[in-house]
Amino acid sequence: MANTYEAIATVTVGSGGAATMAFSSIPATYTDLVLKMSLRYSASGPQDMRLTFNGNTSAVYSMRSINAAGSGTPGSASETAQTSTWLGSLQGVTASTFNNMELYIPNYTSTTTAKSISTDNVNEANQTDARSFLVAQLWNPATQAAISILSISVASGTFVQYSNATLYGIKNS
């Protein structure tokens, strides 16, 4: 039986923290990518996370999202022509509590089509502003390219020790 769901690489943040978490030289030997993350940051209050591909910071990213906070009316938001794409926010209030997030990127090696991404981001923190985010993102550069670099950053502060991310490759045959 083929092994079609393989761990490509894991990034774990050390004691000094990290401003970004990145995967580079992503092999083109799979069909889809899955990124699973457990993240916490060092600043106070909710902080936005952003994603770029291949170091591209042109205004070619867009997204639509739905979010819920456990009270009030769920919200929805969108962005167009951004220099990175929004992944939802992180909560850092409750000690020793990490946010869970998963990205799914089909057909990441295509050199002819834009890349659509599905993101689920949840942060339960036993306080009033825990949130869940479901996000549809698009990276549509002027010249389409296979994704070989993936970089995640947080708007303020750093990812703290023990934050980790594992990138998986999925083969369809």
Partner: protein, 161 residues
């Protein structure tokens, strides 16, 4: 990682098609995952899912949708198919992301629940559907839109052990 995420079949369209089916699905797995990344002939086309060629009123679904402005929820009961997303829809040029998780698809004692992740240029949705049948699922059909060349559909089998 156990070797349980097995590709059963994959379809990459070489020409436009109004339906895509996976047939003769074996009962060897616990769950099924279907990953679809389609484009369609016209903007805003929605498509449906049915099982075992059953178009009786055995389907229902609940939708959680964010279209970029507002968040809403909807229901469809006693339907002849599952409309995959309520507000989201496929695009002519941008490949969208659909992930279907079909739990316990081969059991013959309970109805089947399907979790649908739909992420398109029109909306982000997470939906749940029910197929009220105790038959094992052996055929999956996506239809109702004209899927265009290059659209991809892959069915994976997941084993619990």
């Amino acid at each position: 990682m156990p070797k349980t995420y097995t590709p059963i079949a994959t379809t990459t369209l070489g020409s436009n098609s109004t339906s895509v089916s996976f047939t003769s699905i074996s009962g060897n797995y616990t769950d099924l995952v279907l990953v679809a990344s389609p484009t369609t002939l016209a903007n805003g086309e929605q498509f449906t899912m049915t099982f075992n060629s059953d178009t009786s009123s055995n389907y229902s679904a609940t939708y959680l949708t964010g279209n970029g402005t507002t968040a809403t929820s909807h229901r469809r009961n006693t339907q002849s198919n599952i409309i995959v997303d309520y507000y989201g829809a496929v695009d002519t040029t941008v490949k969208t992301v659909y992930i279907f998780n079909i739990q316990n698809y081969s059991n013959t004692t309970t109805n089947k629940t399907i979790l649908i992740t739909s992420r398109t240029g029109y909306a982000a949705e997470s939906n749940v559907a029910l197929y009220r049948s105790t038959s094992a699922i052996t055929t999956i059909t996506l239809a109702g839109a004209t899927f265009t060349t290059g659209s991809t559909f892959t069915l994976y089998g997941i084993k619990a052990a």
